[in-house]
């Protein structure tokens, strides 16, 4: 009787251990992974360029032979007037700026230098800041470089710059 009771106990213990092990295995399996993925692409391009710069014909350009060169990236225009021959000589460069991007732009500000010389006068237009340049829209303006008619100073050279600061239109 005792032997049989002992083996019964062993059998029950074995079964209980087996059940406990199955719980352990079951616990390790309870995990899950959720995945969120995606792509986002910017398609807007913000690009304002000098598209042309042309010396005007006489009488807007007289007594000199100016040149206007646009850089390869079209963000810089270089105007050279190396030969203002006499007081009153002037060069007029007609400049065209184009919004070649697909985002509207506005001219935030213009920073100029070299436009205060009394002998060599550099004239810029009244810049239309806060006016919006829509995609493919152009803005044309002249830059006039002249030897002041009342000047008696010769052999003078002036360097001038103008930086047009465009921003995405709000």
């Amino acid at each position: 009787m005792k032997r049989k009771t002992k083996s019964d106990k062993k059998y029950v213990i074995f079964v209980l251990i087996a059940i406990l092990l199955s719980f352990t295995v079951g616990y390790a399996l309870f995990s899950e992974v959720l995945n969120i993925s995606g792509t986002a692409t910017t398609t807007g391009t913000f690009d304002i360029e000098f598209t042309s710069a042309t010396p005007a014909a006489s009488p807007d350009t007289i007594g000199c032979n100016p040149t206007a060169t646009i850089s390869a990236d079209k963000n810089t225009l270089t105007i050279a007037v190396p030969d203002l021959s006499q007081p009153g000589a002037k060069a007029t460069i007609n400049v065209v700026v184009t919004n070649v991007g697909n985002i509207a732009a506005e001219l935030l500000s213009v920073d100029v230098t070299g436009n205060t010389d009394p002998d060599i006068v550099v004239q810029y237009p009244n810049w239309p800041t806060t006016v919006t340049l829509e995609p493919l829209q152009t803005y044309e303006f002249p830059v006039v470089v002249s030897w002041d008619p009342d000047s008696s100073t010769s052999n003078k050279e002036v360097t001038f710059t103008a930086a047009l600061n465009y921003q995405q239109a709000s």
Binding site: M1, K4, D8, Y11, V12, V15, I19, S22, G26, Y27, L29, F30, S31, E32, V33, L34, N35, I36, S37, G38, T39, A40, T41, T42, T43, G44, T45, F46, D47, G101, N102, I103, Q168
Partner: protein
């Protein structure tokens, strides 16, 4: 003397008989206990992406797609048109099983690009979802207003949510 021997013999026989009986009795008094039973697991661990809703879209046209097994969500924003273009998508995760789950960790990639921002709100490890409970969070995707890129850019982003049984 003969009588005594006979008595002895009888006693021996009786004793032998009793002994035999006890043996047989012992053999009959044996029994086997059997434990029979069945065990079945009814606990179910199942976390799913149950919903995704585009709450807002400015300067873009996003799309969202939940996989058929509801374990994956695909977001696509193919046309952020300008800096400031943005979209917000609400995502709902549900515990469809009957075992509580805990958000163990969240692994992110593509969330630190300087031009295209991907921001997850209310997605913090430690959140516990009881059976049938839901958890909602937002994903915001935007072309950063301060971005200065002039050419098209594509960003791939991913979030892996690791859930485990809550103990």
């Amino acid at each position: 003397m003969k009588k005594e021997n006979k008595i002895k013999k009888y006693w021996i026989i009786i004793l032998l008989f009793v002994l035999a009986t006890i043996s047989i009795g012992y053999a009959l008094f044996a029994d086997v206990l059997n434990i029979h039973g069945t065990a079945r697991t009814v606990g179910e661990f199942d976390i799913q992406i149950s919903e995704s809703t585009i709450i807002s879209a400015v300067g873009c046209t996003p799309t969202t797609t939940i996989s058929s097994d509801k374990k994956s969500l695909l977001l696509e924003v193919p046309n952020l048109k300008y800096p400031g273009a943005t979209t917000t998508i609400n995502v709902v995760v549900k515990n469809q099983g009957n075992i509580a789950a805990k958000l163990l960790s969240v692994d992110l990639t593509g969330h630190d690009d300087p031009d295209i921002r991907v921001i997850y709100s209310s997605l913090v490890p430690g959140i516990i979802l009881e059976a049938e409970e839901t958890h909602s969070f937002d994903i915001n995707i935007a072309w950063d207003l301060e971005s200065t890129i002039k050419e098209q850019k594509t960003l791939y982003f991913e979030a892996t949510l690791n859930y485990e049984q809550d103990v």
